[in-house]
């Protein structure tokens, strides 16, 4: 599957699409990037006069790139209107802050995809190549729950 095709199939849009570009996808994992534009709304409140990307947004970014894009790739032609996506667990560590206008690269490694459940080890790095967060994410991507 073409990488741009995967992004086109994502069920998100602004202001909640956190994937800019997919760099690679195969049976075992994906990698992709996202740049946190300083105009994103949550920076107005997190924190007052001190914008830092919230951990939940980092987690969402890792899930969209690392898990959902991988799930779409793995399902191939079986991904359609009937497909249900649900985030089911996250075990995360936040190692460094991510500030406005930083570009991050997310890399995921499939742990398993069975009976509709996709579990992955996911790492996010900043432009300096430092790990900013990592964790184990899981979700259901299936035709029924």
């Amino acid at each position: 599957m073409e990488l741009t095709n995967i992004i086109a199939k994502l069920p998100y849009t602004k202001p909640f699409l956190f994937v800019d570009e997919l760099l690679h996808a195969d049976e075992n994992g994906v990698s992709g990037t996202y740049t946190f534009n300083e105009d994103l709304d949550f920076y107005k409140g997190h924190f007052k006069d001190n914008p830092v990307t919230p951990g939940v947004i980092l987690t969402e970014t890792m899930a969209q790139i690392g898990m959902v894009c991988l799930g779409i790739y793995l399902l191939g032609n079986n991904f359609n209107k009937e497909t249900v996506i649900a985030f089911t667990s996250a075990d995360m560590q936040f190692l460094k802050p991510v500030y406005p206008n930083e570009k991050v690269t997310v890399t995921s490694q499939k742990s398993f995809f069975r009976f509709g459940k996709l579990k992955c080890d996911v790492i996010m790095k900043n432009e300096a190549g430092q790990e900013v967060c990592k964790g184990i994410l899981a979700g259901m991507i299936t035709t029924k729950l």
Partner: protein, 84 residues
């Protein structure tokens, strides 16, 4: 393996995935994973993967779809074990 023994092993597998301790303590063959034990579909997959590892069997997609209560789980495990 006796059925009671199998259910006891199954309880060990299920325990980390349920928050409903009362239903878990009173688990019987009729206990439903989703409705009685409040286990969601993602954790049901984890339970099935743990069952595969514990009993060294492979569960098929068609079995997974039926595996919604203790009775069916026991029946599927017994069938798989007898095929070994």
């Amino acid at each position: 393996m006796k059925k009671e023994e199998l259910i006891a092993q199954l309880k060990v597998i299920i325990k980390p995935y349920t928050t409903n301790t009362e239903a878990f303590d009173n688990l019987t063959e009729d206990t439903d994973f989703i409705n009685d034990l409040s286990i969601n579909s993602a954790n049901l997959v984890d339970i099935v993967l743990d069952i595969e590892e514990t009993f060294n069997i492979i569960i098929e997609d068609t079995d997974m779809q039926r595996m919604l209560d203790v009775k069916t789980a026991v029946e599927i495990i017994e069938t798989k074990l007898s095929e070994k």
